[in-house]
């Protein structure tokens, strides 16, 4: 037993000795230290197609393929003009004819010339009036019988006008020809094709008596007409198209375009094929800015722009070689006004043709400016709100320093200079994000290398901008509420000092890759671990 007690005592003392030797910390307190975190932030590649795809930039372009890019492709602006308007014009004139109808004599033919000397083979009146003023100088009543063999009433019956004029009296008759048919009478002499034939006779109790007749044709318009019309000016038409430039107006006087096309198309639209020739003469195309400034689109050869719609159509394409089109589009007007004179049968031939009031002239205009252009230095400024939670701002506040690298591999020939100024809630500037410490220079992103003669891209350009933020700036960053972003862009080598900046070519497959990465020096304290 004594041995047992001794052994246990020794063991107890030995155990206590071991445990008592340690100097254990009272509390485990995690240390603090600074750590550098190298983080990727963004790695994105954009093509021009991505940036300007149709659904996002309808006003810029409507068609894109992999290799083509149209900076401006206007909608197809069209204007339809009813020929009936022109046919109505014919009725502006009127004709008259005086003749005598002897009583108790065989019927005689009288020919009343159509207005404008039109020669009608067949027509349907939309409107028109036939008027007679009859005077009876005799002492007996005279009964008149006026037959118009070329005209049939809407019900198909011949048009015959009968009247009785008392002795020494006058009568006046106005007959509405609406919806009446006209067909050149087969027995009418061909030389009287430009006239309306009237077959008149009279009866009286006194032989040798007669009537004086004054006839008028006026307010003629036709829903259809087959015949021949002399060269006729149908008057001037004026059309205005608004371009809705929006932000593109910022590029005025900075934007120089190449390979623009103006496609002008006109078409005679009809259900029949025997239509008249038409000339749209002296087309004047003027770009007008809201400020009132104007620029006319003119041909380089000095000739007027005239469309002759032979065989129903006429197309004209203007480009930089045959016109001042590039200057015109670079002018970036707010609207374009097109005025012209319409001439029917400009060759003034006698060919019989048909015109109806359903015929129209479709006139369309489309601008396409292919993406070969130059932009002089142009500046945009925008203000963005910095929407961060207070928790995020507190985390930023714990930062000690940061280096932000912006790596841009640019296969788009545009240089960009960006300056970001952070402000407090009162827009008071806190500091400007710049590539160096003096706070003046902007971030530069250089465009791809281009062939100066062709404007084609040779190789992408890599630009690396590093923004260094010390702890003071990081503290300011945590308090920033707005970012004022000033961006200046220009195409390659298109500086303000260069009056004729080289143009560059864009394709929708052109791309840029932006990698944003940085090193953040962070102080890790126990609550972060």
């Amino acid at each position: 037993m004594k041995k047992l007690i001794s052994a246990l005592s020794i063991l107890s003392l030995f155990s206590a000795f071991i445990i008592g030797c340690f100097d254990l910390p009272g509390d485990i307190i995690m240390p603090e230290w600074d750590v550098d975190l190298n983080v990727p932030i963004i790695n994105k590649t954009y093509t021009i197609y991505d940036m300007f795809k149709p659904e996002s930039k309808n006003s810029i372009t409507s068609t894109l393929t992999s290799d083509d890019f149209y900076l401006v492709q206007s909608d197809n602006y069209t204007a339809n003009t009813k020929v009936a308007d022109y046919v109505s014009i014919l009725s502006q004139g009127s004709t008259s004819q005086n003749f005598i109808i002897p009583a108790n004599q065989p019927a005689q033919s009288v020919f009343i010339v159509f207005p404008e000397d039109i020669e009608i083979e067949q027509a349907t009146f939309a409107s028109g009036f036939l008027s007679f003023a009859i005077q009876n100088p005799s002492s007996a009543v005279i009964s008149s019988f006026l037959q118009i063999p070329g005209i049939r009433k809407p019900d198909g019956s011949p048009l015959i006008i009968e009247t009785n004029v008392p002795a020494f009296s006058r009568d006046s008759i106005v007959y509405d020809l609406s919806n009446h048919q006209y067909t050149f009478p087969p027995n009418q002499p061909i030389q009287n094709k430009n006239s309306l034939q009237l077959v008149a006779s009279a009866n009286s109790t006194i032989n040798g008596s007669f009537e004086n007749v004054n006839s008028y044709l006026f307010n003629f318009s036709f829903s259809s007409l087959t015949g021949s019309i002399q060269k006729t000016s149908l008057g001037n038409e004026r059309t205005s198209v608004s371009l809705n430039l929006d932000d593109a107006a910022d590029f005025r006087n900075k934007f120089f375009i190449k390979e623009a096309l103006l496609s002008l198309k006109s078409e005679y639209v009809s259900t029949h094929h025997n239509f008249f020739e038409l000339e749209i003469a002296n087309i004047q195309i003027n770009g007008i800015r809201n400020s009132g400034e104007q620029k006319a689109l003119t041909r380089n050869d000095g000739q007027n722009i005239t469309f002759s719609l032979v065989n129903g159509g006429y197309d004209l394409t203007l480009n930089e070689t045959n016109s001042n089109l590039t200057d015109f589009i670079s002018f970036l007007p707010d609207s374009i006004v097109i005025s012209s004179e319409y001439i029917l049968n400009p060759s003034n031939d006698d060919v019989v043709r048909t015109v109806t009031n359903q015929d129209s002239i479709k006139f369309s205009v489309q601008f396409t400016a292919k993406s070969i252009f130059a932009i002089k230095q142009t500046n945009f400024t925008d203000t963005l709100g910095i929407d961060l939670s207070q928790d995020d701002r507190d985390k930023i506040h714990d930062g000690i320093g940061a280096d932000l690298n912006i790596y841009l591999e640019n296969a788009i020939p545009i240089d960009a200079f960006v300056k970001v100024t952070l402000t407090d809630e009162n827009y008071f500037p806190l500091f400007t994000l710049t590539k160096n410490q003096n706070g003046v220079d902007s971030l530069q992103f250089l465009g791809s290398q281009v062939n100066n003669s062709t404007g084609q891209i040779i190789s992408p350009t890599i630009t690396l901008n590093t923004i260094a933020l010390d702890s003071a700036k990081i503290m300011q960053l945590s308090n920033a509420r707005y970012a004022i972003i000033s961006t200046t862009v220009n195409t390659k080598n298109a500086t303000n000092e260069n009056p004729n900046p080289p143009t560059v070519q864009f394709k929708s497959s052109d791309w840029l890759n932006i990698k944003c990465y940085g090193k953040v020096k962070y102080h890790l304290s126990p609550e972060e671990k």
Binding site: K3, P40, N405
Partner: protein
């Protein structure tokens, strides 16, 4: 990995496994905890252990008992407990410096502090804990001719975790462009197993004129019950920060786990959860068989040569088994890309799935030892002196085992009656690295008491030590 375990249950598992699991005798691996006597000899036990202390080390040495003698151990009067824990990188001084604070506030690490802390992990960041006991061990030697029989119930719980150096480097210095961070050195294995063993040993005495006086041979058969296992089978994950800070790498990790129903563990992917019924005799999660083989040669001049091959076998885990894995390439070059962020999260959290079973080995070891006993008349010191030299080669890195060879030297000196056994030794290699062991032993007639530490540096220089070890226990001898 995903939070697949119920945290409360997992905490209980780790705590209770640490408290109740123990082992008393030299066994389980080349570097695992052993009984207090062998602990004092710096685990130099191949030729010096005897009786029930040789179970699991060299069953041939079971025969080193007197004829008609009996040995056994229970929790009375002193339970056999052995505990060893620590790191291979952080001393108490360093723990106080980095995690003790300064005047109650966090220490702000300088660049030099960071560098020094990082350097601590350059040769490994291993944390381990082994805690073991014997519920019951019994050995009986009726006669030399009949041989020696033994029965034993031995529990062992242990685990090791190696913190990848890359994690520490990343945490301290952040990710440096161009530097590749490999997580291949991450290791984790932990288990609680119990052996129900039966052993037999027979000695063969030879002619007295021969230089070989005695040959002993022994064998042990074990039924192995596993109560939990959690381990990472493979890690081949790496990360690298590119010139534009893009982070790329590869995730490749596989791990397994199994738990007894008694733990009440619930996996996230599974709707099934057993009620927690934690205890010493829960249904096992895995079953296996193993055996030990041993030979011992007693030469003239009291020189003993022993060799053994222990823990040959495997465990098949079948209860609440799951596989955890993460594979695939990692790429982060755009923090605004949610797809990349989701992918990164998936790679680090991995996936888990139920599997039918998986198997693990046992901590197989080849052991070789020399022992030399100096009697009082041959000794230059008073009393008796036992010297031992060991070589242990593990064949895997399961808890308690190491593929790094371990060599140790130990002695046991008994100056005389009423003076305790004084034991000491040094060990090199294995998972312990360098260890200086010291122990005491008292024999009171029928009960033997032993106390030791395998890491005496903890006592002589406690604040620069990285490990702590204590072992004590008693043995009844009749």
């Amino acid at each position: 990995m995903k939070n697949i375990f119920n945290c409360r249950n997992l905490s209980i598992i780790i705590l209770l496994a640490s408290v109740f699991s123990s082992r008393a005798f030299p066994q389980f691996g080349s570097s695992g905890t052993v009984d207090a006597r062998s602990t004092g000899l710096a685990k130099t036990y191949n030729s010096t252990s005897m009786g029930i202390y040789s179970i699991g080390i060299n069953p041939a040495n079971l025969s080193i008992m007197g004829e008609s003698s009996v040995e056994f151990s229970t929790i009375i009067p002193l339970p056999l407990i052995s505990f060893h824990s620590g790191t291979d990188f952080l001393s108490m001084n360093q723990l106080n410096y980095y995690f003790g604070g300064v005047d109650g506030k966090s220490r702000v690490l300088t660049e030099s502090d960071k560098q020094n802390f990082n350097d601590l992990f350059s040769d490994g960041g291993s944390v381990f804990a082994n805690f073991s006991t014997s519920l019951f061990s019994f050995a009986m030697k009726p006669s030399i001719e009949a041989g020696t029989f033994s029965l034993s119930i031995i529990d062992f719980a242990g685990g090791n975790f190696t913190i990848p150096h890359a994690i520490v480097d990343l945490g301290l210095n952040g990710n440096q462009p161009g530097k590749k961070y490999d997580f291949n050195d991450e290791k984790f294995k932990s288990w609680w197993i119990r052996n129900y063993g039966i052993s037999y040993s027979r000695e063969f005495q030879l002619e007295s004129e021969s230089w070989l006086k005695n040959i002993s041979a022994g064998v042990s058969f074990k039924l192995v019950h596993g109560y939990y296992y959690a381990g990472i089978e493979k890690v081949n994950t790496n990360l690298e920060t590119g010139t534009h800070n893009e982070i790329q790498g590869n995730a490749d990790m596989i791990g397994y786990s199994a738990f007894s129903d008694g733990f009440g563990v619930k996996y996230d992917f599974d709707s099934l959860q057993h009620q927690s019924q934690f205890g010493l005799f829960m249904p096992p999660a895995g079953n296996g068989f193993g055996f030990d083989l041993g030979l011992s040669f007693l030469l003239e001049n009291n020189l003993n040569v022993s060799l053994a091959l222990t823990d040959i076998g495997s465990i098949s885990w079948t209860k609440n088994t799951a596989k955890f894995f993460a594979t695939g390439a990692i790429l982060i070059d755009d923090l605004t890309n949610q797809e990349q962020l989701d992918s990164l999260k998936d790679k680090f959290t991995g996936d888990a799935e139920r599997i039918e079973s998986f198997s693990t080995g046992l901590p197989t070891v080849f052991r070789f030892g020399l022992g030399y006993k100096l009697n009082e008349e041959d000794n230059f010191l008073p009393g008796t002196l036992l010297l031992g030299l060991d070589y242990n080669q593990g064949f895997n890195d399961l808890p308690g085992n190491s593929k790094t060879p371990r060599v140790s030297f130990g002695f046991e000196w008994k100056p005389g009656d009423w003076i305790p056994y004084f034991r000491s030794g040094v060990s090199l290699g294995g998972s312990d690295e360098f260890a200086w062991a010291v122990g005491l032993g008292m024999y009171t007639g029928v009960i033997e008491f032993n106390l030791a530490t395998s890491y005496f540096q903890t006592i002589v220089a406690p604040n620069s030590a990285k490990q702590i070890s204590v072992a004590f226990g008693s043995r009844w001898k009749f």
